[in-house]
Symmetry: D3
Subunit: 304 residues, 6 copies
């Protein structure tokens, strides 16, 4: 393990590895976090990450609030992400002298500071409490959705939420689109066309996202800012409008996710210009769309 | 229409017709309520019901609180029973003199009182406001449930709730078990065995309830009081434990429901003795059960 | 002062003297309470009352809750009953030995108990805190009502409220109908015809209540139980429907009040039978009423 | 109708036309909004406005929150602005091709963006829901105020409020000073002198504002920032202090309003310099004031 | 283990053994509960208790609510009873056939019912969740109190609380008076004389209660109903008023406790008559008291 | 008194004099505030301060919120800073003409504005209400802490709090470390080593702060920003780890305090550079620390 560690005085990190395993050392112990798992490391915790190959992923940082499970409402006592599936580290420590050589890097008010010390900070022999880092395997998500007709809002896929103090408004939600059965009858099954009061940043861990089969690749990202309409591409619309509906598997082998926020997201200059990966033609995926009536629409008043 | 009407000073009625149509006259107008529909008539509203054949059903009365839609939580802005599907009467009136002959019957503190008047009380020419009777067709319920594995709590089938002031505790919930797709893999799909902190009164409007195929007939009822364990009968257990799981329709042609309350329910003497319909052997449906491990159980940590 | 005092272990008393002054001794000091004033004596406080002539009034007892000022909502920081107009006693004591002769009477669970002691209980030399008896002069009530058109709900006359834990529902409200200006144009100005989700017990301290000029006398009472319709008598209706509307004084020289409760009130046998004061013909005040359209109704969409 | 429309991704608009009618096209239908009416168009809604003459007015924009009716508190179930008087559009659409020529302008993070499309966005054939633009005619405001003595806070004139998450603190209130009766005895009837924890921006739709008869003209505005004292001008003070009090009409033919905010308002350079309409002598309206006791003050303890 | 078990459908039990150890079998596993420990067994859980000698104690039953730790307020994140010191059973089971011979006794609506079954109900091989019985050793209570002057309310000794829905009002509190340091200067250190809005039932597990050295024995109980004044006996008063104050140990070797409830407690006939243990002279402990000024009173404004 | 006064439109001041008395004139009257007292002057209040010698202290300004007493939780009805010990001014005024010469200085949006007027603003003859400045003598703080073992969080020393809208999170707390008894057994008694989610600014009014005996002088300050660990210096650690524990006085003659905020504090350039008082070696107070086990640690499971 390197002689460097990090802690964030500003906020909490939700880390979504997309490629490569992360071996995370923390004061609480070690966690191996693999793609299709996520982990959260909160304010003030010192940590260090070992990687083993080309490695990449997504990070969401929230300020002044911690992630928590959504209140389940009528879903009841269990469902979606269950508390028992969140794993925390077991105490691990090293009694290692690094005279003058251990560097602790701190992010405070958006700037980085460094200090040197003589010992490894991972010297916590035992601990108790519930302010700990944790990880979660997305395959444990107990998926709930329509089993008759119509389309549930994507909030039903919420894994974790960082609540604002205004009820119903999140600083950030972490939402996934996991493998599941699609069975809604008399329904256009893909995500509907909509405007959102929240910003939607989508990423893809693996597979093919159902509403954008082309162009949106694992490791990529899309950003739909507040109140600008969007939805499935024209191909998806055509197919989903005409297909004969029967139970089918959706998203097998795929894991797309969304960072959704009531705040606006700024894009870095690098993201817009230097990355050379910007999809200049993204908006064209909707151009072939024509207004017309969708046969797969609901009219539940008809005889069953 | 008869020269008699009724109003309840004590509480609100939720009426579940099981056989025969109800033509309900209220001060707000008329409603035709048929089996598979429900209606609510609140405190103080004068009403009169015409029936046309042998007619029966269920009534749930709540005190000091009105029915409302459950908060949807992560389900989002739409789902379960949608507000737009609740129908209210259009103003209708009659200008009818009934000298000394119109009887208004009032239920107050559990007793009935009668008064005579000269005119029909259904003389409201127009009205506005939102304290009105309403009806709802259960086929409009947008059913949500597990689409991957595991079993959602029956609270996910809540149509209406009469909340107590203790968050999460209902005076009464009206819950249905509507036609839907069952797709959960690695799961024992019928209702699980449980004890409940609430009283469960079940009724059946039509069809066959999935967890008790025999004995529980349309128009019947069952009561499982708080904390006494119950669940599917032995037959249901055997079949559901061994069946190869695939998407299947559940409860087509059936509508069972539950009045669920955090309070205890008293049974009338007539219900226990005089009705001659008591099922003395009900508990025997569980006797053939033997403890054993259910193959259709979840182990989501196995490879998908 | 007598060698007897009283305390109530069950609840708080709101006392409304109607005739005769009350000189109330409490452990906190003395209060002279006269008609058109009210006072509140809470659980556990020992008190004794001297009267000087024929004396009568009304008492409202509430359990498990104290009276408080209503939240003013858009009325703002001041209005209705202002906190500064509630008066509390100044410490007063007597150092009086009454060997074996001072009787303390206690109401506990609706029963009376007595104990003897050697000293006067009014021996508190000084005190501080805010759990004190208080009095309020009803003439200080800052009356608010419609100054354009339409009719405000009588809740706008609330002096004190004893809240239940269900928001918007009171165990008991103390409401008055004080002298004020009536200026609403295009409006039927007396109390409107209504059914109430609460029980209404009305009393009259002095003068003539605007909606029932005859029969309802100072010291009398009327009870309209939940959900039974009522309103002004036929005379009042006739006059108020036809009068040309101009600013006028209402209730000068009059003080009617209401104990309003979300619970049902029981009437004692004495009240119903033995009092010989029951008004057997009360309901006849409404018999001359005929349905017809009231000219003094609002149509604000017409040009002003 | 022009080939341009607009939507605001940042917040909601409350529009107060002062001169000229507005014909507003929205995706929900059309609204004609005239002076003395207001309308609200929320985030994300595309709209376009036709005007017919010299037209002006006021706009208030709020972020992260919607306008709602104030909780009425003791005012009860009805009063102030009643829900039934808010009008929403009926669905209207045009099936109009504008090849490459329809411009959609978006305000996002305070900047304007434009996009072209081939069709009119006003192509919504039908809709349901409650996230809709609306209008309200200020003459429907049911005015409530003192009908005995003293002065209610101006919060009692609140039409709409955009609440912060701190109870009792509004991001913005829309308050009006409508035609009404003034009847308070023993009271200085104009607005009292005060400092405010909120910013007060006042405007005048028509007539003469009671506390500033001169200088404050329809279409004008005044801004009193937090905690700086203000009140009626010297003339108003003199008259209102000496006048013999009787019921009188206030503000007939006048409609002044206030945008009140717990935040501080910035004034544009144009507003301060370039407009040539700044009233440099505004503060002089108070200079003639001398401290003295007001005869029309309250002493309700005196005999009535 | 006997062939009988019990479950309570009505409420939760808090058990305070005073003499003799309890070996409690539950569906969740076994707990050995000894004097100076408490345990809670909730609604619906089947349990059976083995005792080994003369055994006695106290039981508090609450309905419709569970015990929880009090909100700590300014005490912060830790203190009083810490969550980590509550112990729950580890799964334990027996695979025991008892053909027709195992009796399950149920308390439902205050009555006892019995049913027979063929197997031991303690056949739960494993479980997860947080609805479990638990025990707590009172010596782990982190005692907080005045460390300068004055006397904290006994609420600061709250171990567990069963909250009503009215904030600040408990159905029942479990409060202890544990061994601790007494250091308050200028203070009368024993419990002060008071009236309580709650009922106080006190018990004694071992030792001598500081405010009643004689007569109140381990295994005994005292009940002070609402609003009747009480406090230390005359001896305690004399001593504590005159003693020179220095740090001293309080209650070493003693554990008194209080069941405190906002409801009134009824005493059984047996408790009042048949037990032959009633202390007829209890009230005499206060008779020697004379009013006088206590030297050990606070005047913090004097120089320290 | 000078012909200048000040008011703050932005927020409230909490003033902590450290040296020299403050004679504060306000519109509400005069307050003499001496070291070991604090005072609060809220938004909008005009005030002027006379000093008599070299004078210094600390000021905390909060925006959009007022200071209040913390909710006491299980501490009960009294304790910590008691309401009765907060003192407010008695009305005082001067009728003083200062033609063209009285300057009112206003802080608005962080900038200063000045206006001239002819009279003294301290001309308020009488007032009523509860929006007033106040002062509090810190010696009246009723200190509460551990009286058995373990260490209470410093929140238990909170005098005043300015709450954010997120429960449990303060914009700012004012916390003191007053003279008191230290009696916790089996405990390391000084402040423990910790990281804080809040910023800690400490000051010293007089004496020697227990955890930093050297270097931290009266009138000085220390700032520990969020999530950077800190605690007692090495000397303090050594002594407190080895000392035989007995009741002892802590902080006699000392008054340290903390401004604690969930926000980050910026330090002025003057504070960092120009003051020539920066302690460049502060971090060295921890360098001698070695990891080792503390004998004075808790193991409450051992026999008492």
């Amino acid at each position: 393990m390197e002689n460097r560690c990090f802690y964030n005085s500003d906020g909490d990190f939700l880390i979504v590895p997309q490629k490569g395993n992360l071996l995370i050392y923390t004061e609480f112990g070690k966690m191996l976090v693999q793609p299709n798992e996520i982990c959260v490391i909160q304010r003030g915790m010192r940590f260090s990450i070992d990687v083993f190959e080309e490695t990449r992923g997504y990070i969401l940082e929230v300020y002044g609030v911690h992630f928590e499970l959504p209140d389940l409402g009528p879903i009841g006592a269990n469902g979606l992400a269950n508390p028992r599936d969140f794993l925390i580290p077991i105490a691990w420590y090293e009694d290692r002298q690094v005279p003058g050589g251990y560097t602790v890097i701190n992010k405070y008010q958006g700037k980085l500071f460094a200090a040197k010390q003589d010992v490894s900070p991972f010297n916590v022999v035992a601990w108790h409490g519930n302010y700990t880092p944790y990880k979660y395997n997305l395959k444990n998500f107990m998926v709930i959705n329509s089993v008759a007709f119509d389309h549930a809002d994507p909030s039903i896929f919420t894994v974790l939420t960082a609540k604002s103090v205004r009820p119903g408004v999140a600083i950030a939600d972490f939402v996934i689109f996991p493998p599941r059965w699609g069975v809604a009858d008399k329904t256009f099954r893909p995500p509907y066309y909509h405007r959102n009061c929240m910003s939607e940043f989508m990423g893809l861990i693996r597979g093919h996202y159902e509403a954008k089969q082309g162009g949106f690749l694992p490791g990529g990202g899309s950003l739909h800012s507040t109140m600008t309409p969007h939805g499935p591409d024209a191909d998806c619309f055509e197919k989903a409008s005409k297909v004969k509906l029967a139970p089918e598997r959706i998203a097998d082998g795929t894991m797309a996710f969304m960072f959704e926020s009531s705040l606006s997201l700024a894009v870095t200059k690098w993201g817009l210009k230097a990355s050379r990966c910007l999809d200049e033609n993204y908006h064209k995926c909707w151009e072939p769309l024509k207004s017309h009536f969708t046969p797969n629409s609901r009219n539940p008043a008809e005889p069953n």
